[in-house]
Symmetry: C2
């Protein structure tokens, strides 16, 4: 949190802002330079090209975006603990990085192969999560559900309100309102309740 920022940091900060707002193609080196309070030539002095600079920003953004999901996927901690911790941590991250989901989704969709190369997701195994879910189902602790679907659904419930923020804000709250921020704040509690409710065993009623 030092007040004085090195030129390199100033560039990275500016690049984060401009790239996440306009994407790789939409971003202009001039805008990044302006935002950083320097000129274009310096950008190329510190980072060779627009591409190189972008790669750094994207990789960093993707780790933030997917890091805790990867942890929920691979950790050996008890399932319910993992899910609860994930929702807490993840929505906090998104609240502090409102543009993250839109940025990552946009870039991944525009250049899938390229962006997936930038992600070192090698070695991530999904079987831990799947096994844990299967175990809980077998024990009757949760209703029958597949691990893959549960995993995707949990992330969906967390991410989508942020990824679709501009549209949802406008459609649900009307353009004038700022109430959407409050709505996002409530999401943490809401997603937890929703997931827990969705997982309650079917036979609760019949077990009388």
């Amino acid at each position: 949190m030092s007040e004085i920022q090195s030129t390199e940091d100033a560039i990275l900060t500016a690049a984060r802002k401009v790239f996440s707002a306009h994407g790789l193609q939409g971003a202009r080196m001039q805008d990044i330079a302006d935002e950083a309070g320097i000129n274009k030539a310096l950008l190329h002095y510190y980072f060779r090209s627009k591409e190189k600079l972008f790669e750094i920003i994207f990789q960093e953004a993707f780790s933030k975006f997917a890091g805790s999901a990867a942890e929920m996927m691979t950790s050996e901690a008890p399932l319910f603990e993992k899910i609860d911790a994930f929702i807490d941590k993840y929505i906090d991250i998104l609240l502090n990085n409102l543009f993250l989901p839109g940025f990552v989704i946009a870039e991944i969709n525009n250049k899938p192969e390229r962006m997936i190369d930038l992600i070192s997701s090698k070695g991530l195994r999904f079987d831990v999560f799947e096994r844990q879910v299967a175990e809980e189902v077998a024990r009757g602790n949760i209703r029958a559900i597949e691990g893959k679907h549960l995993f995707v659904s949990i992330i969906a419930l967390c991410v989508f309100p942020f990824a679709g923020r501009p549209i949802l804000k406008s459609i649900i709250f009307g353009n004038e309102s700022i109430a959407y921020d409050a709505f996002l704040q409530e999401r943490k509690q809401e997603v937890k309740r929703f997931v827990i409710a969705a997982l309650r065993p079917d036979n609760q009623i019949n077990e009388i």
Copy 2:
């Protein structure tokens, strides 16, 4: 389904493909021309500018993307019917337009004000859906939940697997696999089960 396509239609088809794959900024008029089997000049003859052409494609895409959600929001049909019909219809649309969610989310995030202007969402009222949910809650038919959150959650569960397809495909199934398409096919059933389960009243157990 006529075999012969007018030049105008050929351009629109090509534009759909190129814009949805690369976005407004990433798309090249040359690519659209090549894809349509004509030259750049003709693009400008039929549609004045890249912007104009894009607006047509985006508006069309957005209607597809949000049309049935708007219907779920405003229709006076019974809540459960609406939700069930929405999930069916919506996931069918997405299955037939895999790039739609990524495209719309990307553009909306890159130029929010501009894209929202292109959407004539004026006059769409959210109170119908909210009222219906409140009524079902009051009757004890579903557990306590806010209409806004339920609405966003349903859409999230449907859209996110498509919007995040390239990442999810790679992370959950490993890059080699084509199993993700089967996964998407299952989503319709899965989302229905998930939402219905999540809405079961809390007091089912206590009502013994």
